[in-house]
Every structure is written in structure tokens, then in C-alpha cells.
Symmetry: C2
Subunit: 335 residues, 2 copies
Amino acid sequence: MKKITINDIAKELGVTPSTVSRALAGNTRVSEKTRKLVADKAQEMGYEPNVMAASLRKGKSDTIGLVVPRINRHFFSNVISGVEEVLNPAGYNLVICQTGEDAEKERKAVATLLRNRVGGIILSLSVQTGLFDHLDEVVSRKVPLVQFDRINPDVEGDKIVNDNFSGAYMAVRHLLEEGYRHIVHFAGDLGLRAYAERFDGYKKAMEEAGLEVLPSMVFENTITRDAGYEAMGKLLADQKADAVFCAGDYSALGAIECLKAKGVKIPGDFGVVGYANEPFAELMYPSLTTVEQNAFVMGNKAASAMIRCLEGKAFNMEEVVPVSLIKRESSGKRR
Amino acid sequence: MKKITINDIAKELGVTPSTVSRALAGNTRVSEKTRKLVADKAQEMGYEPNVMAASLRKGKSDTIGLVVPRINRHFFSNVISGVEEVLNPAGYNLVICQTGEDAEKERKAVATLLRNRVGGIILSLSVQTGLFDHLDEVVSRKVPLVQFDRINPDVEGDKIVNDNFSGAYMAVRHLLEEGYRHIVHFAGDLGLRAYAERFDGYKKAMEEAGLEVLPSMVFENTITRDAGYEAMGKLLADQKADAVFCAGDYSALGAIECLKAKGVKIPGDFGVVGYANEPFAELMYPSLTTVEQNAFVMGNKAASAMIRCLEGKAFNMEEVVPVSLIKRESSGKRR
DNA sequence: CTGAAAGCGCTAACAG
DNA sequence: CTGTTAGCGCTTTCAG
């Protein structure tokens, strides 16, 4: 059972391969009649187009590369699903690369995608490196690039971002409304825009409430569970505080574990708000108040933007996806 | 800045494209000298091999398709990482497809991969369909197929499975040792081998303890959180039971939520053991005793098996990956 | 509306 | 050790 090509179909039908190719592509310059004839014959012979041959000829492929830090994060796996939902029906294929938050792996992933002549790249940055020539390379090769969430605004191309500022602002407002005053912030890498914006939202809410944000109240690069635990330990030893707004759920988890270990009552004596609404957030005890990012929608938008780029219809726009605060136990009233 | 091909570098060097091709491929039939010459020139000119052209010519591609039910499950995302760890350094690329536990999407995913002429397919079945002609198609096209975890033993090719029987057996033995006697089972789809084996392990442990397993004690297709909650509700209303062994952590979670809602004490009055060690298992309250499957290792093994197939070295072997019981609070002593 | 012809970039016989 | 030749399967001018 050898493979069927358009030549086989052509021979069978007594036409030329060109006609078959056109017919299959739905070209209107070929008669309705032959188009149907070809389609039927193709079906009958079990023809399967060879994507690679077509791509080689066209110098373009229908495969889109998606580069993310890790796929086992709730946020990213939902973005992926959102991207798939749009891209697959449109006839594009997705190849997913994990960077593991490693700048070097990110460069390699992009290089590999480029070597494989993908039609476009959708990417969320791994870490703050300061080196973005791999992205510049993508742009200079005229390969459409869509960045999402963790973006570099200086690189050309579409960008889809979360409303980090509002998310953080809402979170801190909520803590203030529940009666907390000495609110510290466990931040991410402030060189990354997403985290910088969360910090700004925190600061804004605090200042509006007439509270000063001292440098000692901000713990940078504190996004892992361990970092959260450790930072909370230091915090309890060093200064007076009654709440923390964490830039991620994992550090919030660590913080809560530390507070529980020291016998601090949550909520009441201490309020905690996280960010991302990881699946465990609603299951932990106390359940974690957190900011939900609409990852699926973000994936949809990133994919749509990519398709627009591929069709040469748009570029260089930045879209903001709204977020919402999910109130749970960990941020209940201060007593 | 147009693209450099082997022809360009051949012309530059005054040799033929074939020589360049061979040199680049590390063929020993070309002199050490020219090989180095070519390599340097390629570097200098910024040559990037066109993977598609090579694949087209060879009729084979270095891309491996990976088909999983969902990537946001702890187990599967770790398998993916395990696969990547082996495949990427070996020069293969991975394209990941989610089926969302949908048989139709699984068929489509496989068809798409085949159409894209992937070098091989690694797959974990979505659901019990009874129709496996899409897998037969893979086999009949001589595309290497490696199944893992949720496999169909009747389809040719390598298989990597978890030791589901032992995992379940250990789990139930543990409950028995803690003093529980009326142990029911929230099972998955017993048409899928993985779940059937867990059921067998449960049954074996029960029978060894001289306890009969009545049909009323087995709740099939109870793997989601909602199903677990509901089944537990029914269980409490209908019959006497003091423990449940769940074929998944999500149903265990649902079960625990229901028990808590009814004021049943866990552990003590009721023991619960799950399966999979999802990240939330250690974070919930009470923390969940569960069976850890070594997903990463499984990914490694699946990838290695694939590479062996690709090299024509082996096929049709079944490998078993061991599992381990993680004891936490939910299965503490019966009182 | 269809055909002829050329070629995308690379590899693999077959010669020498 | 290297060159010649042919072609993977498809698309796309350019003619008619």
C-alpha cells in the first residue's frame, strides 16, 4: 500500500497534477465539475496531502510554535488549550516547547522552531535576561511573533497581556477593606513587566490608603513555595505586618505554611492573597484568596492575533485581558 | 538577507552540493579536511538546514507526535517533561496533542500527525472506545507507536505501563492495616486496562484479608471530583462503609468534601486513599494518602522505546514502571 | 478553464 | 574520496 500523490490522482483522471493541486486547494479557476471529480477520486484513493512537500514549495509551514516556561502550570496549560481551540480548527498545528524558566533553553527552542520553518511563534518569556536577540531574530526573519503575559514591550509584534495592575490593586484594596494595614508584598522578578505591574498595583492601593510602602516591605524574587516560606519567616522575626499580597500562589502557599507552623491565625491575625488561582488555591486550608487570570481567553486572543499576522492583516497591537479577584478564606476580616 | 542553502556553500567552496550534504551529515566517506572546511563555511555563512526538505527527501521526519488526554494533569505534564528530556538531546522534536478525553479528537490528532508524516507517535488512550482502527492505521503505515499508561494491549508496538496492580494493592493493604474493613472502591472505566488493574489490586488485597467484594462496593466511572462527591453521598445513605480506595485523586477529593460536609471524621471514622499524587493531594485538609506514579521515568522510558523503534532495534515489548504509596493524613488509624 | 515546466532544498544511488 | 543525476510531492508562473 504505497502512498498516493496528486500525480496518481491526475493520471487516474486523465488530467495534470496542476489541475489536481488547484482543485484540492479550492481554486475557483478550476471548474466546479472537475473540482468535485478530483475531490471524490482523492477520497476514493485515500489520498493524504504531504504537508512537508507543500511547505517546502511554499517556503512556509502551517505549524505554529508555542514557547512557554512550563506546561504544568495551571495558567500556561489553559493558555495552551485556548490557543489550540482557535488554531486547530483554522488548520494550523501547534508545537509546544517548555523552557523550564531557563533562558538558554528558550533561545534553543526558538532556534529549533526557526530551523523547522514554523509559520509563527507564540511565546511567553522565561526570565529576565536582558538579551532578546533571539526574539529580534524571529522578527528579522519576518516570522510572526505574538508575545503573551510575560512580554518584552521593546520587541516588535503583537502582545497580549493580563491586567496585572488591576489584579494587584483589587487584591490589596480587598485586604485593606478587611481591615489589614501593614501589608507587605512578595514580588516576582521586578525586571519582568508582569511582576512590575503587580507591584505598581500594590503600591497604588497602599498609597491611596495613605500607607507608605517601605523598601523593607517588598520581597523581590519571592515566587516559589520555599521562597514564600522563608520570606515569611524573616518577616515575622523582623517587622510588624498583618497581611501579605503575593505575586503568585506558590509563595502564598509557602507563606501560609510558615504562618501555620508559627501558630499565627489566618485570617484574623494575618491575611494572605495570592495570584493566579492555581487549582490548589481553593483546596488548601484556609482556602486562598487569589487573582484569577483568564488564561483560556488569553490563549484565544494570542491565537487570533497570530492568525491575523499570518494573513498579513495586523501587527504591533497590545491587548489587555481583564482579571478578577476570587475571595476565599485566607483574607477574611482582621480582628 | 536571503536564505543560505547547501548549494550556496557548495559554490563558495567549489565543490558539489552532495559533498556539502555528506560533510554536514558527518559522513566518514568525506575527508576530514573538507568536512571541517564545510562546517566552517556553513557557520560563517549562517547556514540553517532546511528540515522540511530533508524530511521530504527521506520520507521521514524527526518530529515525534505525543498524544495525551490532557496536559494539565500532573501525571501527563510530567510524562511530557520526561519524554522531552530524552528526545530533545537526541535531535527529535515533539509535537503535543491534547484529546481532552475525547475519542473523536484522538482520532483526528492521530490523523493529523500521520498527515504531517511524523517519525513516530507516543500515545496514551483517551477513553474506552472499542474502536482502535486509528492505531491500526499507525501500525500499518509502519510508523513506530509507543503506548503508555492507558494502553490497548492488542495493538502492536511498545508499551510502558504503571504497576497499577501493586499500587492499588498497597493502598488497600495500608487501609486494612490501619484498621479499616468496609473498604469500597471508586473505580475508573474498567474497560481501560489501567483501571481494571487497580480494581484487581483492590480485590486481591480484600480477598487476602478474607473480605468479600460485593458489586455494590464498586462504583465504576467515578473519577471526577463531582462523581466522587456524588458517589460518597449515595454510599453514606445506602450502606455501611468505613473507607474508600479511589482510582484517582479527584474522586478522592470529591469524596472527602462530601464526608466533611456530612461531618464524618477523616481519618478515624473514614479512611480515604487516592491515586496519582496530584499536587493538591499534599495541600488539602486532611492531606491525601495516594499512590505516586513515576511519570517522569515513564516519559523517559517511552521516549527511549521510541528511539529504539526508530533505529529499528526493538519492538513489541512491555515495560512496567513501579509506583509507591505516599502515606498522609487521610488514611490514619481507624478508631 | 487547463497544461507544461520549473523548482523549493536536500539526499542517495551510481559512477568514477 | 567526490561528482553526476535524479527525484521526494507539491505549487505556481506562464502559456494557451
